[in-house]
């Protein structure tokens, strides 16, 4: 039975006391005595050779202590940026990775590429001096579109990647899939773009590096989703300092959405410069800098064919995708359009034959990497657009066509690596249809028509893979790291509990949900439990938070550690109370012998463990246990989203009238935190579908480099959402959790686009690419007429 602070309870968030009172502490809120400020000199050109850098005027400017360039960085042995996942082409050759120095040495490859850094006493002085650094550029031809970059004669961006092709990767059985298409009763075809997005965490990235010459030790405060991974990479690959001489602290972090997974040039340079210049150095991105340096998301162009037999059962899916990875390969860029994308192309459906070919391409744009969903939204968008199109072309109900093809037997092995462990797709479809009042749609549509508006309804039945990830499995696929998680549970002598976790919270509320798991296990109040995270000096190790992994993987590690603590508690209590371990129960703040009145208060067990006056023979003192948890499989959150829109055909304006989500996340720890994740995810998905687009002109200049041109969803852009959860418990981890962080962003874009296409089907509009801005919708209506 759930306790009021246990698993399943809507416990108010522990972190909100500081957030709602303005006492959150983010990287830019920290300072140290003698702090200096870094400002980067960035390329205004998308592609150019750097033929000279004159730093003399900047060096002489007021307040400036140093101006450094790429040659000095390389000269000091700072390594090039790495990509942590090796993907090979279909011919077996390894991916062709171009060199990326944190400060460019001879060539710049996107607008914003850092060329030099100025360190000065104030930020204003550093900015003034940065403008005095004279960089001579010899401009080179530019390509920003991935399909253009593959054309013969396209500008060559890296010497290592001929024709800008990083890899030409494949998955699945090409011959069998071609056969299915050849023998199909119906083949539905689509060609679509998954639009490029800027992540836009509200806290801009920042780094503050302090070097202690007395101990030869560096400390970095930074906006990171995974401080231990940052320390590892900074140490092992960039030679900043060995791990024991580098502390990385990710304090309160104002949103990540993937963009704060990576170790960017700025963190590397701040650390290097702090030691070299002998002063503490802080850098905080301004918003335009964020637009031109934070790793972007998505940017796929795909063609696909979906084959059906005469009974409307799917027989095959063939996909060709070109993925734009930008000017350099970011830390996990290679796995996003491959193992995080094509392995989900089966969707919720039995598809006997699948083949997907992915070409990853360099362009003169900001590097592209994981952004909320990372590959899975692109897969979901493709398959769900195809299903809706198929329903239209086959003349059947889009919900029923999906149901007819749902996977119903689990475990289910797809033709693209994944083994789905459990799910009930009809359940979420039915729940969403009921909540969305699909039955009443025709009436609402008629009402819209009466006022000159077009109304449409669209589905999306998504599945994703979370709980990233079984280490051996991802290792065999090219990952450079294991994706387990670690935890340590420390029961103090007074009975309070500290949980040290390698997960990192940047909005997810771990300090609450993780504590609920402990509260549930030991029946203790939340106030007795503290979650410690985000500091490599406090926490043993961790792989961080992304890919909706903190519940399924991070909490599982905590559960394993709790198991060990519980076992020791019972041993101690059994010994002290002279009872059998099997009779010991923990409840109501006490450790009791079942069926008797013998008991110890919870804190007495802690005290007993630390005084060690009366422990079982051979038992070590103390009450602290650690665990590493390596997942056995991915988890598979799934659900059904239904979007209802109204379109003003005179202007092309789309209004979201209703948005319904029915999700299966497995075990829910805190329903209101889960609901918040779904809401936020859907907001970002609606943003992608209707509003957001990171756009470059042909010369590689960003056209959406501020909130004046990049449309962020605002309060008046979004409807109320109807959300619900329907659990099938994940069999793969101890709590049955699947993960909920990305579903909203994954499932919602196709639902919205399908709804708009449904609304406009009577006007002859057959295709639209995101974002569905008024202009695009109006143009499509115009073109169809």
């Amino acid at each position: 039975m759930p306790k009021d602070t246990g698993i399943g309870a809507a416990v108010p968030r522990t972190e909100d006391r500081r957030f709602t009172t303005g006492k959150g502490r983010y990287t830019d809120d920290f300072t140290v005595v003698g702090l200096h400020h870094a400002v980067f000199v960035r390329s205004p050109h998308a592609h150019a050779r750097v033929t000279g850098i004159d730093k003399s005027a900047a060096e002489a400017a007021p307040g400036v202590v140093a101006v450094y360039d790429g040659k000095q960085l390389v000269g000091d042995g700072v390594g090039n940026l790495i990509c942590g996942w090796a993907v090979s082409s279909k011919d077996g050759t390894p991916m062709k990775m171009g060199a990326w120095s944190a400060l460019a040495t001879d060539t710049v490859r996107y607008v914003g590429d850092a060329v030099a850094v100025v360190i000065a006493e104030t930020k204003a002085q550093a900015r003034d001096a940065a403008e005095m650094v004279e960089v001579e550029y010899e401009e080179l031809p530019v390509v920003v579109d991935a399909t253009d970059a593959l054309k013969p004669g396209a500008p060559q961006i890296h010497p290592e990647a001929e024709g800008n092709l990083i890899y030409d990767w494949e998955i699945g059985d090409a011959a069998a899939t071609d056969g299915a298409i050849a023998n199909a009763a119906k083949v539905v075809e689509i060609e679509l773009v998954n639009n490029r997005l800027a992540p836009n965490a509200m806290e801009p990235r920042a780094a503050m590096a302090v070097y202690d010459a007395g101990t030869d030790h560096l400390t970095l405060h930074t906006t990171s989703q995974n401080p231990h991974v940052a320390r590892l990479v900074l140490s092992a690959f960039y030679q900043i300092a060995p791990e024991h001489k580098l502390r990385v602290i990710a304090p309160d972090v104002g949103g990540g959405f993937g963009s704060k997974i990576y170790i960017y040039p700025e963190e590397i340079v701040c650390l290097w410069a702090a030691r070299k210049a002998g002063v503490p150095v802080k850098w905080t991105a301004d918003r335009t800098e964020a637009f031109i340096t934070d790793a972007h998301g998505r940017d796929h162009v795909s063609k696909a064919q979906l084959a059906f037999d005469s009974n409307n059962r799917i027989t095959g899916l063939k996909v060709n995708t070109v993925a734009n990875l930008g000017a350099y390969m970011s830390l996990f860029s290679s796995c996003v359009p491959t193992y995080l994308y094509a392995t989900l192309l089966s969707g919720q459906y039995v598809i006997p034959n699948i083949y997907c070919d992915v070409k990853a391409v360099y362009t003169n744009t900001v590097p592209v990497d994981a952004y909320r969903g990372a590959g899975r939204p692109e897969a979901c968008y493709l398959i769900e657009r195809l299903m809706e199109k198929a329903a239209k072309e086959l003349g059947v109900d889009p919900g029923e066509l999906r149901r007819q093809n749902f996977i119903t037997q689990f475990p289910y092995q797809t033709p693209v690596i994944m083994t789905y462990d459990i799910g009930d797709f009809s359940q979420t479809l039915d729940a969403a249809r009921a909540a969305a009042d699909v039955a009443g749609f025709a009436q609402r549509k008629a009402a819209s028509e009466a006022k000159g508006r077009k109304r449409g309804l669209g589905y999306s039945c998504y599945i994703e893979a979370c709980g990233i990830a079984p280490s051996a499995a991802v290792g065999s696929l090219g990952a450079g790291v294991g994706l387990w998680e670690s935890a340590e549970v420390r029961v103090n002598p007074v009975g309070s509990i500290e949980v040290l976790t390698g997960s990192h919270s940047h909005g997810q509320g771990h300090e609450t949900t993780f504590a609920q798991v402990v509260s549930d296990r030991f029946d203790l109040p939340m106030d007795n439990i503290k979650i410690v995270h985000g500091d490599t000096d406090s926490v043993q190790f961790g792989m961080g938070t992304y890919g909706s992994r903190s519940g399924a993987v991070g909490m599982s590690a905590i559960v394993k550690a709790l198991d060990k603590v519980e076992a020791k508690v019972k041993k101690i209590a059994a010994h002290v109370l002279e009872a059998s371990e099997a009779d010991i129960v923990i409840e109501g703040g006490a450790v009791k012998v079942q069926g008797t009145d013998k008991q110890m208060a919870w804190h007495e067990v802690g005290l007993a463990a630390y005084t060690a006056h009366n422990l079982p023979e051979g038992m070590e003192p103390g009450l602290k246990e650690g665990a590493f948890y390596d997942p056995t499989n991915f988890t598979f959150p799934a659900g059904c989203y239904i979007c209802e829109v109204e379109v003003d055909p005179d202007t092309g304006v789309v209004t979201v009238e209703n948005f319904t989500a029915a999700d299966d996340f497995g075990q829910v720890i805190n329903p209101l935190i889960v609901e918040g994740q779904v809401h936020g995810g859907i907001a970002q998905g609606i943003g992608q579908a209707m509003l957001e687009h990171a756009v470059y002109d042909e010369s590689g200049q960003p056209l959406s480099g501020s909130y004046m041109d990049y449309t962020m969803p605002r309060a008046d852009d979004l409807p109320s959402f109807k959300v619900s959860t329907h659990e099938t418990f994940c069999p793969g981890n101890p709590l049955g959790i699947k993960g909920c962080g990305e579903a909203g962003a994954i499932g919602s874009p196709p639902a919205l686009v399908n709804a708009v296409l449904d609304a406009l089907s009577g006007m002859g509009v057959k295709h639209l690419d995101m974002p569905l801005t008024p202009r695009r919708v109006w143009e499509a209506i115009n073109a169809a007429n």
Partner: protein, 156 residues
């Protein structure tokens, strides 16, 4: 660089600081006075994270010259709960209206300005009042609910 003295009240306390020509109020509050509750989200007047009240009205501190607030009353979220939690702060907690917390202070100040002016706003008036404040985490609904709830509680 010459510095000039500026005096104003911050959350009820008289404060005097020296500022550089052109220095904005946000930097002055955060760095000069150590109140880091208003956040630097864009610096271009487009995200609302730096929203503070000047004589009770919401303003973007990043676009306000420090010298322009001479003699005025500035309120930030750090001063909102001086006597225990403000009803808005409590409502934000109750409705899970914060996730990463970065936009929260600005959002609260925009909401406070609304409720001070209009104690019983409609949902649309709440939406309008926070339309200049971007939140990337919540999808806004819990924030809107929290503000409406705070209004109801203050009325009760």
């Amino acid at each position: 660089m010459s510095k000039k003295p500026v005096q104003f009240r911050l959350n009820g306390a008289e404060r005097a600081v020296f500022v550089e020509g052109g220095q904005n109020l946000l930097d002055t509050i955060r760095r000069g006075l150590g109140d880091t509750s208003p956040k630097w989200g864009c610096g271009q007047g487009t995200c609302g994270a730096c929203t503070v009240l000047i004589d009770g009205q919401p303003h973007l501190a990043c676009l306000t010259l420090a010298e322009a607030v001479e003699g005025r009353e500035i309120s930030t979220n750090a001063g909102l709960g001086a006597n225990g939690l403000h009803p808005l702060q409590q409502a934000f907690m109750d409705h899970f209206a914060a996730q990463c917390g970065f936009c929260t202070s600005g959002m609260l100040m925009a909401a406070k300005a609304l409720l001070d002016r209009n104690p019983n706003p409609t949902r649309d008036e709440v939406i309008e009042a926070i339309s200049g404040n971007i939140c990337r985490c919540t999808g806004y609904e819990p924030i809107i609910d929290a503000i409406l709830d705070a209004a109801k509680r203050r009325a009760a």
